[in-house]
Structures are given as structure tokens and as C-alpha cells.
Symmetry: C2
Subunit: 211 residues, 2 copies
DNA sequence: TGGATATTGTGAAATGAGGAACATTATGAT
DNA sequence: ATCATAATGTTCCTCATTTCACAATATCCA
């Protein structure tokens, strides 16, 4: 199994580039084109495909339609992916309102919160009390969850997800969640860290230039 | 100059862990403790510090207060960092409303949008017309910007930022921005990709287990 | 005070990802 | 039909980052 996250992220980028090419009427694509599109070298593209057993035609490149299909299968996008969000605050509702997920085959099935004021069963994406997470996730076979609670609530949210059978989590809370790695995949997005990182490099470049 | 992004991100994580330890009343810390806290090996911690010229005491570990101070200086947090946000939609306003930046020394000075309905000069964090970005950023010496516009508007937002003297950008739009690397630092956050990545690993683990 | 020990700091080794190179082969032209 | 050529697929190499290992040394305790 491939464990290199960057490699998988590149697959997603190839896929996005391929959709653009497809919509422009292209039928075939070469490793050079994809490399340009996502900013890597052609050999990287071929190596990535090779790793996942994707082959093209020597001198003929890759057929865009079948390449998209293969990538989608690898990325698990051949079936609708249902997601739940725990924590319907700033980030949670930003995700909930985002239109872009639908066309990517990602469907937000429901949100959960402990704040009674947030509950709304009638909304297109319902906001339900946290207690209902387990039953809902099991009933709807949800495999993927998003944690968008305050940091102090994140670990307990994770544990509820674990017991609800959720297998993958995107976590926005700025702390390291503890869980058995064999049981659940955790991807962290820490926006403060990302900003801090930009700040560091801006300052560091400044200092370098000054010296 | 250190160009390793992961290394800088670890510095931020050490810093966060140190604040927690400090608030618990600890005075000294060992590389083991920090390693546990952020999930790396102790030798990694020592090497990271060594790279940035941070030294501790053999057998005595590191003094938490002075370590925090050194990390903050390295990370550019010894001075308030003013940030502007372009695009005041779902993500932009989630960031705007987030309380956590303030205590990290990050201040959102203003937001910008092309939608007249979004403009609000009276708010604590004002939302201004996009045309005012350049003057505002120059007048307030803003170095850091966030792009939270739709993808089609992101490149032009970046170019406005460039001409406004902004040196670092956190970009949420799912595309590759073009800019001279020596003039501006760009950090991309692509939430769709992050979710897709979780989905991939969940499926991949499933298949591995099945086989 | 002195010896035992825990912990740092760093040079060396291992790992792993990315890039270069090239042999292979499908395509198209003559 | 044959040849020239363009593009793949894979091997090998390079480089960066991580991990190991240990000598150096500050601290603690007897
Ligand atoms: N908003 C941002 O821009 C931003 C930036 C950086 C980090 N973050 C992190 O993202 C997370 C979410 O941030 P936010 O700004 O959306 O927070 P928020 O306070 O706006 O929303 C949190 C939501 O979680 C709910 N909640 C609290 N405890 C809960 C629990 N135990 N179970 C379920 N729901 C619970 C609250 O009722 C609230 O609706 C936080 O951990 C924050 O540190 C956010
Ligand atoms: N919201 C999410 O959860 C989410 C998830 C994945 C990716 N993204 C990406 O993040 C970006 C922002 O997403 P969003 O959901 O906040 O979008 P949004 O549509 O809610 O907000 C975009 C805002 O940008 C403003 N805008 C449009 N053109 C502009 C311009 N030229 N200059 C300044 N402002 C302009 C709009 O008026 C609007 O207020 C998008 O690129 C989106 O693809 C968002």
C-alpha cells in the first residue's frame, strides 16, 4: 500500500487537471502536459502512475477518460462519499455551505453540535444533537468525519466517531488527537500553523535579504 | 536560511506544547517530553533546535520560558502580525470571526470584497471594497494576506497583493497561483484535497485489510 | 568532593522521495 | 514494409531529512 501522502495528493491534482483538459475537448494527454499542469516533472507523473499500476501507450500517452476513471477508483470517488461534521461553528458551517464538495462526489450528510441553538432538523443538511451521531453514522454507513469543535472537545468527538464506526477524520482542532493508527486515519488542518508558517518565511526572507 | 517547511511547522508545535506545559507550572522540559507532545523522536527535537542555534543544558534540559521566547523570535511572533483577508465569504468570515488568532499575536486588520453587500466600515474588523486594498496595505504596512475568493478571482487577488507590497499569502483557492518566488511566499490550503486524501487512505486501508 | 547518571549536541548512517537517464515500444511517415 | 521518432516505464542516482549512536558534560547524590 502507498503511504506517501504527497503522492496521493498529486493524484487528486492530476485528476483535477484532467477534468479541465477533458472539458476542453482533449482526448489524450502526455506526462509532459500533466507535469506542467500541476508543477512537477514528467518523470514524477509517470512514476506516480506506475506506482498505482496505471499504464499508458508508448508514444500515445494516456487516454483522458480512462485515466480519470482509474484515478477516481483509486481515490475512492467511484462512489458517493458521505461525510459528517462535528462542530457547527465558523469552520463547520463554512464547510457545510461550500458548494464545491457536491461536484466532487462528497456529500455532507449531517452536522452535529452540543449547542441546542444550532440544532435544525429541517435544513437540507440537518444539524443534529451530538448524542445522535453514533446512530446516524451507523445507520447511514458514514466512514468519514470532520472535527470542527473547540480544541477541548476534539478528543471526545474523535472517540465518539471511533465508536460510531468512522474510519477517517479531518481535524481542524489545533492539537494532536490520540487514537490507534490501525483503526482510524487522521488528517490535521491547522490554520494557525499555516499562517505562522507564512509569517516565518516572510520574516526569514527579509532577514536574509537584509544580511 | 532554513527552507524546510516541516521543520518550521515543528517549531510552532513545540511552542504550542510549551505553552501548555508552562500553564501547568512546569519550568524545565526535556527533548523526550516535547517529542511525546508532538509525536516525533527526541533526536528530532534536538536536531531542530540545533539547526536554529537553540541550546539547552546537558542533563538539565531546556528552560521553558526562555525556549518559548527564542521560538517566538524565530517564528516572528515577537511583534504583532497584521493580516488582511481578500474574499469575505464562508472561509473568509470564518477566519475573521476566529478568536484564536489574537492570542497568537495575529491581528486581522481588514477584509476586502467586491460584493457591495459585504462592505462594512464600522465593524471591529472592517470589510472594505477591494479597490482600497493597495492603499490600506501600504498605509498599515501589511505583509501578510489571505486569499479566500472563488478560484477565478484568486490570481488577480494575488497580483493586487503583490502590488500592495504583501510578501506572504495563505491561499484557499484550489488552483496553482503564479508569482515570482523571490518576491512572495505562498502557502496553499486545499480543503477538498485534504478530504479526498482522508477518503483515499480509508479506502486503501479497507482494501488492504480485505486482502 | 567525587563519582554515577541522565541528557544534550552532533557527526555518521539509514531512509525515502524526487529527478535523470535510457532501454523499450507504439505510432506514423516514406 | 521499414525506419525514424516520440513517449512510456523503470532503473539508477542524488539529495534531503530522519534516525541512530555516542562522546561530552551538567546535575544530583552519597
Ligand atoms: N475559525 C477559524 O478560522 C479557525 C482557525 C484556526 C483554527 N480553528 C480551529 O477550528 C476549530 C473550530 O473553530 P471554529 O472557529 O469553527 O469554532 P466555533 O467556536 O465557531 O465553533 C465550534 C462549534 O463546536 C460546537 N461544540 C462545542 N463543543 C462541542 C462538542 N463537544 N461536540 C460537538 N460540538 C461542539 C460549538 O457549539 C460550536 O458550534 C477549533 O478547534 C479552532 O481552534 C479555527
Ligand atoms: N468554504 C469551504 O469550505 C471551502 C472548501 C474548499 C475550498 N474552498 C475554497 O476557498 C475559497 C473561498 O471559498 P468560500 O466558500 O469562502 O467562497 P464564497 O463564495 O463563500 O466567498 C467568496 C467571497 O469572495 C468574494 N469575491 C469574489 N470575487 C472577488 C474578488 N475578485 N475580489 C475579492 N473578493 C471577491 C465574494 O463576494 C465572496 O464574498 C474558494 O476558492 C473555494 O474554492 C472553500
Amino acid at each position: 500500500m502507498i503511504t506517501n501522502k504527497n503522492c496521493v495528493i498529486r493524484l487528486s491534482r492530476y485528476k483535477n487537471a484532467l477534468y479541465r483538459l477533458q472539458s476542453l475537448g482533449f482526448v489524450r494527454v502526455f506526462s509532459d502536459n500533466l507535469a506542467d499542469a500541476i508543477g512537477v516533472l514528467p518523470s514524477q507523473v509517470r512514476k506516480d502512475f506506475s506506482l498505482f499500476g496505471i499504464t499508458g501507450n508508448k508514444r500515445g500517452g494516456y487516454n483522458i477518460d480512462s485515466l480519470i476513471e482509474k484515478l477516481n477508483t483509486i481515490l475512492g470517488k467511484d462512489q458517493l462519499q458521505k461525510v459528517v461534521i462535528v462542530g457547527t461553528g465558523n469552520i463547520g458551517s463554512a464547510l457545510m455551505k461550500y458548494k464545491g464538495f457536491e461536484k466532487e462526489g462528497i456529500s455532507i450528510a449531517a452536522c452535529f453540535d452540543i449547542d441546542p441553538a444550532k440544532i435544525n432538523r429541517q435544513a437540507k443538511i440537518p444539524v443534529l444533537p451530538l448524542e445522535e451521531l453514533k446512530d446516524f453514522a451507523r445507520a447511514n454507513q458514514i466512514k468519514i468525519g470532520v472535527i470542527a469543535t473547540p480544541d477541548v472537545a476534539a478528543q471526545s468527538a474523535l472517540e465518539m466517531m471511533l465508536s460510531a464506526g468512522i474510519k477517517g477524520v479531518l481535524n481542524f482542532a489545533p492539537l494532536r488527537l490520540r487514537a490507534p493508527a490501525e483503526e482510524i486515519v487522521i488528517n490535521n488542518v491547522n490554520l494557525e500553523l499555516e499562517l505562522e508558517n507564512v509569517i516565518y518565511f516572510v520574516n526569514a526572507l527579509d532577514k536574509t535579504r537584509a544580511a
